[in-house]
């Protein structure tokens, strides 16, 4: 099936790419393997940061609804329950839809397949009810089911802290957040709001093991020294039935990899990321990336990267004049840059600058 632009993944990045392109007259087909598009937006029941143009103060799930409505309004063709299992170097995409296998033949592709949570190995880590913090968040906020009543959270980044708060909102008790580093990784404001609710954040602590036969029944934590070795005698047994692992995400970039896009390793962005230029085009001409697949950030930056890709595709397909396109790209770039300011953004900004530079020097 021929299409002008194929967008793989209907989360914030993919939806924004599709919307920008469709608005400019591109014929867009968006595929998503889920029953509903929106990616991880619908589990984000909290208000977003940023400024008015980033929809600061608006809840993630509301933004999800707004984007779905825009996609519909601009005539984006959305194929749900459709898995894109292959991306080939000629940009063809192998998909499996409910009615069978098909091949998409797009002129341009935006890969916006997001990320997966990292896991942490410790004795008992495979027990039922050891799950990602984002997984618990999905179970509670999307499926309205609480997997446990007494929770230990491992990792004090924003995901761990926000999920702690949201588990409290759902009626669970959060016994502790443990963080191996000497300081809290996430925002002070996220930490403040759970500590004042009686949730201790224990820095220089880690989980030693999860105990239970059928599922989690207890967790053993301990203090760690500067080399992250457990301090003997500091072990404590916690009576928990759910352990949420919040130790970061990594991109789901397999499709880029199989198509032959060049990758580099950036710890600040979650690991191996596909290289892209300032318009989000990878080292494979006509293939763009946007959102967490290109480096772990947040939904707000995913949206702006998606917009960059959508606008760039529109220019490349000749739908808008390059000057108008350049102006819109500069605006989206400015909004994106604002989200990478400050101590929580500097490392990401620096990494993205290096990616764009590397991409420019790479084989095309």
């Amino acid at each position: 099936m021929k299409t002008e632009l194929a967008v793989i993944g209907g989360g914030p990045a993919g939806l924004c790419a599709a919307i920008e392109a469709a608005q400019r007259g591109v014929e867009v087909t968006l595929v998503d393997e889920n029953q509903r598009a929106g990616g991880q937006l619908f589990k984000q029941i909290h208000r977003f940061f940023g400024s008015e143009e980033h929809l600061a103060g608006v809840r993630g799930l509301t933004i999800g609804e707004m984007l779905l409505e825009d996609a519909r309004k601009y005539g984006v063709k959305v194929a749900l329950n459709t898995v894109a299992w292959g991306l080939f170097s000629d940009r063809q995409i192998g998909v499996t839809a409910p009615d069978g296998v098909d091949t998409l033949e797009p002129q341009k592709v935006v890969v916006a397949t997001g990320a997966i949570e990292n896991s942490l190995s410790f004795p008992g880590w495979t027990l039922p009810n050891v799950m990602g913090a984002g997984a618990a968040q999905t179970m509670v906020n999307v499926h309205r089911v609480l997997p446990g009543q007494r929770v230990l959270i491992v990792g004090s980044g924003n995901v761990g802290l926000i999920v702690a708060y949201q588990l409290l909102q759902a009626g669970a008790e959060v016994t502790a957040v443990v963080e191996a580093l000497p300081g809290i990784s996430g925002y002070q404001v996220h930490a403040s709001k759970i500590v004042r609710m009686g949730v201790p954040i224990l820095c220089r602590h880690t989980i030693l093991r999860a105990l239970g036969t059928e599922c989690v029944q207890k967790a053993e934590i301990a203090r760690v020294d500067e080399r992250f070795n457990p301090v003997p005698g500091s072990e404590r047994l916690l009576d928990v039935d759910l352990i949420c692992i919040a130790v970061g995400l990594r991109p789901l970039a397999e499709l880029c990899h199989m198509a032959g896009v060049r990758f580099e390793y950036y710890p600040a962005l979650g690991g191996h990321v596909p290289l892209h230029d300032s318009t989000m085009q990878t080292t494979l001409p006509g293939v763009y990336v946007a959102g967490d697949v290109s480096g772990i950030e947040e939904a707000s930056s995913a949206m702006e990267e998606g917009r960059l890709a959508g606008i760039a595709v529109s220019v490349a397909l000749g739908k808008v004049d390059p000057q108008a396109g350049a102006k819109d790209l500069a605006e989206a770039g400015r909004r994106l840059r604002a989200l990478r300011l400050g101590p929580y953004g500097d490392d990401r900004h620096e990494a993205k600058e290096k990616i764009v530079q590397s991409c420019g020097q790479g084989a095309r």
Partner: protein, 172 residues
């Protein structure tokens, strides 16, 4: 409710001394004039909806948007309307009114839990470290559709705890 014994060792507690050093933190002189928004936001995060939402334009973040918010209300006073309390994604803004009564201060905070408290409920005031520090009662509960599910709760506590109480639990 039994307090979690691990709370003693918790990180993430801003001290009042640390907060008072921030340029926007109100002086005692300003507290004597009436309610004021107290913005407990101490990190450079790109974020400024408190500035956008303030009707009286007394909150400024400016550019870059990582600047800490400053509340400067020399001409037109902050009247404690609470819009900033509602919109702050970090739930980090409180309205403190040390003129509430002779002996009490009113602490207004965002609240996103069930069950909702009711006016008159007796409460225990809780500090930033999650410890109960005093008694009090619920003075007002504002649950307005336009607040998009952030309820604004005002508790009355003994005045000497106005700088400490930032949460509450039901008493008894």
């Amino acid at each position: 409710m039994m307090e979690n014994p691990l709370l003693e060792q918790s990180s993430g507690v801003l001290s009042y001394e640390e907060l008072r050093r921030h340029p926007s933190y109100p002086s005692e002189e300003r507290y004597r004039k009436g309610p004021i928004a107290v913005i407990e936001c101490v990190e450079a995060i790109p974020c400024n909806p408190c500035q956008t939402v303030c009707h009286r334009t007394v909150i400024t973040v400016g550019e870059p948007i990582t600047n800490l918010p400053r509340l400067i209300d020399q001409e037109e006073l902050c009247n404690g309307c609470g819009q900033c309390v509602v919109i702050c994604p970090g739930l980090a803004i409180f309205i403190i009114d040390k003129t509430f009564s002779e002996t009490e201060a009113a602490v207004t905070m965002p609240y996103e839990f069930l069950p909702l408290p009711a006016k008159g409920d007796r409460i225990r005031g809780v500090n930033r470290a999650g410890r109960e520090v005093c008694g009090g009662y619920v003075h007002k509960v504002r649950n307005v559709k336009g607040y998009d599910r952030t309820v604004v709760v005002t508790v009355a506590v003994p005045k000497e705890f106005a700088d400490e109480v930032r949460f509450f639990r039901r008493a008894g």
